[in-house]
């Protein structure tokens, strides 16, 4: 069972690394979908099945479809600037990568609270989440509706300029 957890975490991490090193945008989107599905598996192993389903439906479904549509509209192809190619060469990130690895190793070595006995995780069901979301945090739900309205209006406004220009 622990092997499955390590496998899901490894797939998520490798997929994320592949996302930021691809040249073609569509390949990066596909790797990002794989990363999100692996993260959904991690959430299931944390006992949050409801959050995992939301991750699959909204993130891997809706947001990734937005990305794919926009990349299809832009018709990007192989338009990489020379500076980005220069950034992605190993000679450019080798030194900062080694220094960051040293600092990260020191940090992990010094974090004493990370080493020690800890209680087992207890799953939180969707029932508790619904009670908490629409009981104590109902005002936050209204604020999120304001946020969604603001996003809708701004996206509509930005798109309107483009439609008026043609």
């Amino acid at each position: 069972m622990h092997t499955l957890a390590l496998l899901a975490a490894g797939v998520a991490l490798v997929g994320a690394i592949m996302v930021i090193t691809r040249r073609v945008a569509v390949h990066a989107v596909l790797y990002l979908v794989v990363t999100l599905l692996a993260l959904a598996a991690v959430l299931v192993m944390l006992g949050a099945s409801f959050a995992a389903m939301l991750e699959i439906i909204i993130y891997a479904g809706a947001i990734m479809v937005l990305f794919v549509f926009v990349i299809m509209m832009l018709n990007l192809g192989q338009t990489d600037s020379a500076r980005e190619k220069q950034w992605l060469r190993p000679r450019a990130w080798c030194g900062p990568g080694i220094l960051a690895t040293i600092v990260c190793a020191e940090l992990l070595y010094c974090l004493s609270p990370l080493s020690g006995p800890e209680p087992a995780l207890t799953p939180v069901t969707a029932h508790d989440v619904g009670l908490s979301l629409f009981g104590r945090y109902v005002l936050v739900v209204e604020l999120v509706s304001f946020l969604l309205l603001a996003g809708l209006v701004s996206a509509f406004y930005i798109g309107r300029n483009r439609a008026g220009g043609h």
Binding site: L32, L66, F67, A120, G151, L152
Partner: protein
């Protein structure tokens, strides 16, 4: 049945956040910057869910839902800005060239 420990969750989220931050710093293409932002948001949401499972509190998953809504809005507005910039005949999606909105 949770098989992850809270430490593993924190380590995975830290690694994912670092990868996303490196993506935002290294890539200059705006689509890739948005994808890296999504990776970072996912890492923080993973921390919230893990902490909610650790202290048996539903607030962690409530915050996960809020982060999901925030990510949806952020992606929609960012992609709308990208389409708008591209519609003006901008040949590249380099983030350093898009310093004028001209709205």
């Amino acid at each position: 049945m949770p098989v992850f420990s809270f430490n593993d969750t924190l380590l995975l989220a830290t690694a994912l956040f670092s990868v996303g931050l490196a993506g935002v710093l290294v890539r200059r293409n705006m689509v890739f910057m948005l994808m890296s932002l999504d990776i970072m948001l996912n890492a923080t949401a993973l921390v919230f869910v893990g902490a909610g499972a650790r202290w048996h509190d539903a607030t962690g998953q409530v915050m996960f839902v809020l982060i999901l809504a925030l990510a949806a809005v952020e992606t929609a507005v960012g992609l709308a800005i990208i389409v708008c910039l591209h519609g003006r005949g901008r040949p590249t999606l380099d983030a350093d060239t898009g310093n004028l909105m001209e709205g």
